[in-house]
Subunit: 218 residues, 2 copies
């Protein structure tokens, strides 16, 4: 009974399965999520679940690929089409922050669950992640060589930048204190400042408090 496949208000069962797995993997982790919970969340029974997935790990692997590709492909596009390291890093930060905010669940799974993959699949995921990080490292290295950036160490700056932008996924909420545009702009400013780009001057802001925290594991 494939009910309401034509109803746009309800996603297809296959999509609901993927969304259910994504929510639960992000919230409780891959190992902490049972297949029965996934079936429940998707509104089907356990037996039916296996008409849509091969194994539980297949489900994780698909989400992981999606997460990685969503960063790597646009990242390559940026690097190929943008000449100046300064503009490149701005676009990379914008891409990374926006995706970690808008697709925060997928980003959390992509960042935190590589270890749950079996070796063969983990190797592929690690290769994608390394390729993406290499885009940042090249950019920061180029910018340092040209004298646009001034960092104590290229690799450390790469890790620091990536990590600080990834954190957005854990606290972003669409109805939080700041708009996504404002957050993105602020992270671009902080990234450029960290990289030692010329004017570190922004108007000060000393208002404390406010804002939401940790939308995913509170």
């Amino acid at each position: 009974m494939p009910m309401a496949t034509h109803d746009p208000a309800v996603a297809s069962t296959a999509e609901r399965v993927e969304q259910a797995a994504l929510r639960l993997f992000a919230l409780r982790g891959f190992e902490g999520t049972g297949i029965r919970s996934i079936a429940d969340e998707a509104g089907i029974t356990l037996g039916s679940l296996y008409h849509y997935i091969g194994t539980k790990e297949d489900l994780l692997d698909r989400l992981m690929q999606k997460s990685m590709r969503g960063l790597l492909d646009p990242g390559r596009e940026i690097v190929e089409t943008t000449e100046s390291p300064r503009e490149r890093i701005v676009k990379l930060v914008e891409l990374h922050v926006r995706r970690h905010a808008e697709d925060n669940l997928l980003s959390i799974v992509g960042d935190a669950e590589i270890r749950s993959l079996t070796p063969a699949r983990r190797r592929k995921a690690v290769a994608l992640r390394d390729a993406y990080e290499a885009l940042w490292e090249e950019t920061i290295s180029d910018g340092s060589r040209r004298g646009d950036f001034h960092v104590p160490d290229v690799k450390l700056a790469t890790f620091a930048l990536l990590e600080m932008c990834s954190g957005v996924a854990y606290w972003y909420s669409s109805n939080g204190r700041l708009s996504l545009d404002a957050i993105t702009k602020a992270f671009v400013e902080m990234a450029l400042s960290l990289l030692g780009v010329e004017p570190p001057v922004t108007q000060p802001d000393a208002r404390p408090g406010g804002g939401r925290r940790r939308g995913v594991h509170p």
Copy 2:
């Protein structure tokens, strides 16, 4: 047979149990770790394990408290004894980075496994974490009000700084390319630069490559 309790070369069984749990929780996560694995890693049988722990979650809770206390207590000491926001943030970054490097496994567990605690214990852990983060936020807020720091938003800067320093736990290796002192110094520089502290000038470094990656989940 409490073998060699007096032998300083071999830790006590209780300590070996805690270390075993720490290693496995950091490597595979709490839910991904079985109690039989912990017993194996500690060199005892499953039955014996339960002479040292109450439940598996007790073990996690103890590690979590240890992790949080190791940041919060010295953090408070720093904030109480250091006047200038600039010096305070330098010491906080040094503390955070050093601990996330030297006690990287404990830091990983403390940062990533809060979600695995049951509600009552999770609340306490979250309270400790929030108190620690508040030290950073106060410091950055004070510095911004005085005009020492220039950030687009205090709370965003707090999250960004904390997250970038926490990342160290995932790639630090004691026999890596850079010494812990060098890493700490670099992170202090990057943090001050991100905060818009006066001279962003450091000697450039454009050497690519080298160094180790992801000691924990490779």
